[in-house]
Symmetry: C2
Subunit: 266 residues, 2 copies
DNA sequence: ACCTGAACACCGTTCAAGT
DNA sequence: ACCTGAACACCGTTCAAGT
């Protein structure tokens, strides 16, 4: 390895980071520090080294600069993280970015909800180490529900459903159900991604023996182990999404039948 | 306030903590340090001061001891947090603890799933600042899905469903759907709890004016603001849970009709 | 046996000083 | 105008030393 500072019982993160940053600082010199460049660097850093490895000092090094220089452009670490979350979430609206995932022009509300769900899932899978942050940073307003984090997203969601004939109350209920579904599914999906790599990182003893910790006490587990290990995230996501859409469709139809204010859902 | 160390642009957490810890250290002196006592103290600390305020040094102070003493009983901070999570999760199985929420003896699998859901929800609401940890700590095995975090819980879940006639595959699919639902719902619920208090904590400017940040650009939001602010978490939880149970019941019935291996669900 | 003091390598953050 | 050095108050963690 490179120049590490003598004593060696340190955070395992450090090793990877220090090895990488030397090379990285060469390329990014072009100066012109900038809030945007800092956020980009922070996201890349988290993607590569994990959230816990991100410090102001290390991020500075990545940009060829001392940590203190960052404070010209970012009020502090917490704000940096908020910025990272906003940035990542807003890539949803970047034209050119994806395979036809524009949430703006759509064919009906079902299509809209599917595009939105797939778009957010794409983000989560692209930045698995950032997503927990998307899920857990305190929202701007109390009724903003992660992972739908911006006023713009909430507005577009509610606007689309109410335009499609959902009464306000039903649209709000749908917003809540939808955000719960997205959060639960995607957070579990990225968590499991993280678990995969962290198992490969630290192979204490042989990797086989560790996993089989006397499952003999747990017959049902033992029996379904193969099933449990099979990853069906994509299919499950689809199935749960379709199920939610069916439920909403039912609500909408019932609303139309008895044209009062019956769209409660909760 | 009390004795704070001169300069005062510090983490807002600190103020509350220091004020409290002086009083607390008086009572807890009875020595006899102990892993159990440390975990209990850590949970209480997080409940009162939030996760970010928990440091080894501060926790030590709470127990009338220097931070270094903790290392006799706990390998390190990360392990401490794992211990906290295990401890909180396992209160589910404590007899005497709750109003008839025993997951072990039940009347049918639906009853079991309802008790389990309500039990986990009770935990989440009792320790809203701990729950994000329950949700995000890397699980012991890759197929352990938060917030159902222990082998014991997974075993009991799968055992109950398969005993009730679910084919293994359907039981596993149910386990996945159920954990996603719980995680999404409860994480959002505690997040919103946290948002409430953090709004009261830092009232910059008048608390009214801040919230109304030119919502004029967001008509649907503006129109539904009242609806959005109304908290219906409990009812929504119930409704989503019942919906999930209905879905599972359908799967089970279909399985029984065509008694093959049709219980796919995913 | 159990706790502490002192030390080490790191943090975030401020601010006067350099260019 | 933009960055840095030095400093401050804090971290987690180790280890020899105290009782």
């Amino acid at each position: 390895m490179a120049k590490t500072t003598s004593d060696d019982h340190r955070d395992p993160d450090l090793i990877a980071v220090q090895a990488g940053s030397a090379a990285a600082s060469e390329m990014t010199r072009p100066a012109g520090l900038d809030r945007d460049r800092i956020l980009t660097a922070a996201i890349a850093f988290i993607d590569e080294n994990g959230l816990s490895a991100l410090t102001m000092r290390r991020l500075g090094a990545t940009l060829g600069v001392e940590a203190m220089a960052l404070y010209r452009y970012v009020p502090g670490r917490e704000d940096l993280l908020d910025g990272v979350v906003d940035r990542v979430v807003e890539t949803l609206f970047d034209k050119d970015d994806g395979d036809d995932i524009y949430v703006e022009d759509h064919n009906g509300w079902q299509d809209y909800l599917m595009r939105l769900a797939h778009g957010v899932r794409r983000i989560a899978l692209a930045h698995p180490s950032v997503f927990p942050l998307v899920a857990s940073r305190p929202p701007a307003a109390p009724w903003v529900r992660p992972p739908l984090r911006s006023l713009r997203m909430v507005e577009s969601f509610l606007g689309t459903l109410t335009d499609a004939g959902f009464p306000d109350q039903a649209a709000v209920a749908a917003y809540r159900a939808y955000s719960s579904f997205l959060l639960g599914h995607l957070l579990l999906e990225v968590t499991q991604l993280g678990a995969q790599v962290s198992l490969l990182d630290q192979p204490e003893g042989d990797p086989e023996a560790q996993a089989n910790t006397d499952l003999t006490q747990f017959p049902a587990l033992l029996r379904t182990e193969k099933l449990l290990s099979r990853d069906k995230s994509a299919a499950e996501f689809e199935e749960a999404l379709e199920n939610l859409l069916d439920r909403l469709e039912r609500v909408l139809r019932e609303t139309r039948a008895s044209d009062g204010d019956a769209g409660d859902l909760a």
